[in-house]
């Protein structure tokens, strides 16, 4: 008799997965609905995907998508660089004064509620007189992306023993050489995970962006939110499905990179 098995737990797990996936699957199916009404099924069609790219709202969504992607690229790249430097100091820097405080600082964006960060950031930009727009969104995104990039990078670095670098250093490699030729290649899976995580978090953000975007600036989430306020239209479901596919792709990529990294270590 298997003591680990509890009757009903499998059913709850299945229910859990159904609840998690049902809305996404339903929206994906309805994004291929040929009818203009969202309630009746009018046969399979690509028309709403065509509408996303060529319809009356296409220029708006195109601009928003461009903003979202470039902001996510800039924010993820900058945050990953900052987080990698911080991880070097925190993991390979020995003990130093203020280490606890620095750790708390890095994780601060995770502890303060998003809406509070949004309010504080808006007030800050208003006080220093920086007009809200693209730049303010980028700054805000870099800030809250840092912990998301830091956590996988630091975790990976902790898993790499210092012996390899030590050996290189004993063979007269400079610190920079030991980093570039030994530590950095070993850290690649962690850095990629951190980067993808930061990228997806930036792409995902609505609340903070909505506060600091200013008038006339849109990212995909704020553009979608604006449309949804007037009701869920079929083209929104098509956009949602595209973003869903993109997220699933990035996560799957990150999963396999992480796994191959773990296998290489084992």
């Amino acid at each position: 008799m298997d003591l680990r098995r509890y009757p009903g737990f499998l059913a709850v797990t299945i229910a859990c997965l159904v609840i998690l996936y049902a809305p996404l699957i339903v929206v994906t199916i309805y994004s291929f609905n040929g009818s203009t009404s969202i309630t009746t099924w009018g046969g399979f069609s690509w028309r709403w995907y065509a509408d996303v790219f060529t319809g009356p709202e296409a220029p708006r969504f195109k601009a928003a998508a461009w903003n979202s992607l470039t902001i996510a690229l800039i924010a993820a790249t900058t945050a990953t660089a900052i987080a990698t430097a911080a991880a070097l100091a925190m993991v390979r820097g020995g003990r130093f004064r203020g280490k606890q405080a620095t750790f708390a600082l890095i994780n601060l964006p995770l502890m303060v509620p998003e809406i509070v960060i949004a309010v504080a950031t808006l007030i800050f930009f208003a006080t220093i007189g920086l007009t809200t727009g693209y730049l303010t969104i980028v700054i805000a995104h870099i800030t809250f992306c840092i912990p998301f990039a830091y956590l996988p990078i630091a975790a990976r670095m902790q898993g790499i023993e210092a012996h390899y670098e030590q050996a290189a250093r004993d063979l007269y490699a400079t610190r920079w050489q030991a980093f570039r030729l030994i530590l950095l290649p070993l850290m690649v899976p962690g850095i990629i995970s951190g980067y993808l995580l930061a990228f997806i978090i930036s792409l995902d953000d609505f609340i903070i962006t909505n506060f600091v975007k200013g008038a006339g600036m849109e990212t995909l989430p704020t553009a979608i939110f604006g449309s949804v306020k007037q009701g869920i239209k079929p083209n929104i479901m098509a956009i949602s499905t595209i973003m869903l596919a993109l997220s699933a792709l990035i996560v799957t990529l990150s999963y396999f990179i992480n796994r191959s990294g773990q296998k290489a270590r084992a």
């Binding site: 737990f9 900052i82 911080a86 502890m111 504080a120 700054i139 870099i142 004993d170 699933a248």
Partner: protein, 307 residues
């Protein structure tokens, strides 16, 4: 004897000791300037006077907190009594977040247990399945949920189709919809820490309990749950805290009757109707509440570790 480089004091695993400052400088500068200072400014703003076009006048006053906690009548000349409007919104938020956390726990614990007791090879796949939806844009997930459960949406049609109900369930704009939305948003946060705790759980304890004639459920209650409690508490915090300040789920799935803190704060910064000092004060109160929960948790965790 190691080479001269190692002799320079690069203690094992601390090669970057000398340049900790420069390495951390970007982090300190970015988070310091763009998060710590803004939060400080927000605290200051909560004591300033509101300006009517949105924004503030630099005159110090307690008006924002006064408006939050005290009712002085329509013209402000009555003796102050407790103002229930905003406390009510906070209380409702705590309640909604609490119910969502409870639903997450009821569904999340069996799920985490089930996954953690799978063979080691298949566990990552189950975990992966649980986490994928979390990586899908929260806005899109919330909109999808609304699409599914709306009055003449697929869920109601399916339920009526199989004859379970005669009239569509009015789910949208109810407390239940908001709780469902919060549950749906943060469920993986509950599963992952409980999973980690169950994975570390020593099943010899279960066997010992079984040998002493404890039933499955008694074992679960008396042995397992106390052992994995840190994971359960961590999961509850990770669901409760973001639910408390959530904006999308209450805004899209709820109505006027399900107004939560997030929407209250958001409203103060939109257009000329806003009140920045009041919004800042509400945000301060929310942040204090969250920090209180986190501090209590950290202290409890430290205490159980010391034991």
């Amino acid at each position: 004897m190691a080479g001269p480089v190692a002799g320079k004091g690069s203690a094992a695993g601390a090669d970057y000791r000398g340049i900790v400052g420069p390495l951390l400088l970007p982090t300190w500068v970015v988070i310091g300037i763009f998060l710590v200072i803004p939060v400080g400014l927000m605290a200051t703003y909560s004591f300033l006077t509101k300006e009517f076009r949105g924004g503030v006048i630099w005159d110090f006053t307690l008006a924002a907190y006064d408006q939050f906690f005290l009712n002085r009548g329509l013209f402000g000349d009555e003796p102050p009594s407790i103002e229930w409007t905003y406390l009510g919104i906070f209380w409702r938020s705590i309640w909604q977040a609490g119910v969502a956390t409870l639903i997450c726990l009821i569904v999340g614990f069996p799920t985490a247990w089930f996954i953690a007791t799978r063979p080691e090879r298949t566990r990552p796949i189950w975990l992966f399945l649980i986490t994928i939806p979390y990586w899908v844009n929260l806005l899109i997930r919330t909109v999808s949920l609304k699409f599914l459960i709306r009055e003449n949406g697929p869920l109601n049609e399916a339920l009526m189709g199989i004859g379970l109900i005669d009239t569509p369930l009015p789910l949208v704009n109810t407390n239940l919809a908001v709780q469902l939305g919060l549950f749906y948003s943060y469920l993986p946060f509950m599963v992952l820490p409980i999973y980690a705790a169950v994975e570390r759980y020593n099943f010899a304890l279960t066997e010992a309990a079984h040998d002493l004639y404890a039933s499955r459920w008694v074992t679960l209650r008396e042995i397992v749950i106390p052992a994995v409690k840190p994971g359960i508490v961590a999961g509850c915090i990770l669901v409760f805290v973001p639910s408390l300040g959530a904006f999308l789920a209450p805004d899209l799935l709820g109505g006027a009757k399900t107004f939560m803190i997030g929407s209250l704060i958001d409203e103060q910064f939109k257009g000329s109707q806003g009140n920045w000092p009041f919004g800042a004060a509400a945000a301060m109160i929310l942040m204090t509440l969250v920090m209180l929960v986190l501090i209590l948790y950290a202290r409890a965790a430290a205490r159980s570790e010391a034991r």
